[in-house]
Amino acid sequence: MIRLEKRTSTSMAYQVFSPVFSILCAFAFGAVFLRVSGFDPVDVYVRMLTGAFGDLYGWAETLVKAIPIMLCALGVSVAFRMLLWNIGAEGQLYMGAFGASWVALSLPEAPAVILLPLMVAAGMAAGALWALVAAIPRAFLRVNEIITTLMLNYVAIYWVEYLIYGPFRDPSAYNFPLSVPFAGAARLPVIGDTRIHAGIFFAILAAALLVFVLGKTRWGYEMKVLGDSPEVGRYAGINVRLHIVVALCMSGALAGLAGMSEVSAIAGRLQHGLSPGYGYTAIIVACLARLNPWGIIIVSILFGGLLVGGYSAQFIGVPAAAVNMLQGAMLFFVLVAEFLGRYRLSLGGSAVEEVG
């Protein structure tokens, strides 16, 4: 009989190397599939690597993709720390994009110094409110937040679709589902002639803020207690419900900020397919980085590179889905490694007894 035993401790080396090892396992796993599909895995991986990190353009594009992943992953990590499984970063991103677009389209004449802060505020508020829709039933009725946040993703995406086919549609866009383009004042500044935009500073600022809040503040300490055991938190007089609501809203606000920066800096208008699933990738990133804010920044760059490298690999016919598969495989191996870090497999043994 195979049995699981809980480990009393996990070594530091294991904690550092298991994510690295998981990523390597995922690439090895992907190599098998590429081989079977008739590609040379080494060739594909080299192309992906050079495409993503081989030159300045590659690096710039990698960072562009990494920014929304960073913000969403920082967001979900706040919720994950309290064992709240916010799967809804994707929808919160779309709602953030909607909030920011609404401000940009309502105030076409406003100068950038007024417009951009308002768009940031509206994007974060919209993301937070969208998370609140799941947070309230979770906090007061224990409604499973995995289900609600996931389902709300579809609602948010269709809401944006409705807007760009309806009220927000640009009459001069020949019936394409696009909103009116934003005024120049509504566009986030970019670095040089790359597409890297100010969103990267939002992400770094958010990571620094999280490190501070988690390490130094009462709120961070209370989150840590609740993340270990809500029961202990309640016993210590911590307001568990308030914390659930605040954490989920924070989570949604950061994803909303990702949506704001995408519409403002990249698309320049509200449109279809704003996110190729950044909100879902963020979940994998947050897990791989073990919820560490600076770790999230680094792993996000890796995943941004994976997306960009995936585009390069498509030139030799590798299907786009290969990147999704690699991402999925990484999460799978991370979860396995996490599990084996907590439990030890053993063969044989006796039944568990307790004092009766």
């Binding site: 009393t8 300490y221 055991s229 202990v232 016993y235 004092v355 009766g356």
Partner: protein, 507 residues
Amino acid sequence: MDSPIVEMRDILKRFPGVVANDRVHFELCAGEVHALLGENGAGKSTLMNILSGFYRADAGEISVRGKPVNIRSPGNAIALGIGMIHQQFRLIPTFTVTENIVLGLSKLAFSLDIRAMEADVGRFSRSSGLTIDPRALIWQLSVGELQRVEILKVLYRGVDILIMDEPTAVLTPQEVKELFHVTRAMAESGKTVVFITHRLEEVMEIADRITVLRGGRNVATLRRSETSIRELAVMMVGKALPPDTAFPPAEAGDIVLELENIEAGGDRGQKALDGLSLSVRAGEIVGIAGVAGNGQRELAEVIARLRSVSRGTIRVCGKDITNREPLCAIEAGVSYIPEDRFGTGLAGELSVEENLILKEYRHAPLGRGFLIDWKKAAARALELVEQFHVKTPSLGAPANSLSGGNAQRLLLARETAARPKLIIAAQPSRGLDVRATEAVRTILDSQRRVGAAVLLISGDLDEIMKLSDRVAVIFEGRIMGIRGRDRLDMEAIGLMMGGLGESHDQA
């Protein structure tokens, strides 16, 4: 009914830290109702779990119908005609009665003729006097009906020695009456029934013979006709121990905790506290004696504000904290040492330091506005670790890496450091070795000396007797009576623990 059908000799069973059965003898005669009586921790359930194959004895012999047997599993026991019904029902809520009863039968065919089975179960239930709809879904049944299904499930397997672990604990009086009726009928039809209980009245009502266990040892086996409730009460709780001279009483001051007519529900929706009133003064320890599951945990949780009350008032130092937030109790000076150290009292994955500041981080000097001063926190933690002799590799070590005794010291350090007005200590020395137990008791005693009111809830009657200035006995969510240190009378306490005796002698 004199030929022994089961004989257990010299049964020894150790669990980590305790000897649950210490060379216990037990004998069953065919066709009798035999009550197994004792406090919690007396070893009743362990002994019967051994007989029914759930545990294996470390030493000892069992013979059934005169033949020595080796019972290795519940299946073995069933084959020998022995079946046990546990306190926690083991039924699948979404299955029907019939599906639950036939589940696990070895001679089930690959395809089931469920209609025929329903008919068979229906016939069987009528003939055994345990009528129930064989097609009813488990989740729709009342507790009494669930128990009937459990009994049927065992009988259906051809069992003629039936063991029931505290079967009346969850039943209404009407259901108890029915259960006794069925039990009598089973005995008359030649089956043997073992009744594990701590309720003296029930013993006298249903049992032919009674075996009393205490602390894992035999006390006596008697015929009902040859004993009395009083004798059984004394046997159950043992001789009176004089209050320990190491813990002389302190000067009792003003009333700190006042409970008035408290009613509260338990986890299974039952009424756990039923009109309980109690007061504790500064500088005294009030011990709550009682058999486990009579509302002790709920009592502690109600005062710590982790459980709401449906009636009554709770006052701490005159301040009404009825149904307020847990923080309100903490700020009123209530400290709580919960019985589950990890899971309620300590966050296992968090460090020793982080656990030590759990009740102090909100206020200066540790808390400064919305920040925590971790330098001061570390200094404070170090001070507490040294003062309470918590053995830990470092302040950063996770709390769950500490031994049981050190984890308890950690908990006590935190809960007594802030000069609490009231300490609720639930099973404070459970699972600890002698030295750690002594340390825990000394800490509680010293808290009393500096004027804290202490409510000591313990399943260990000796501990209650040693430390308490007054002993209150709880039974089914009510205080049966309160005795001062100078009038401790084991017979009366034993009777009250068994649900009898004085009811309102509140000091």
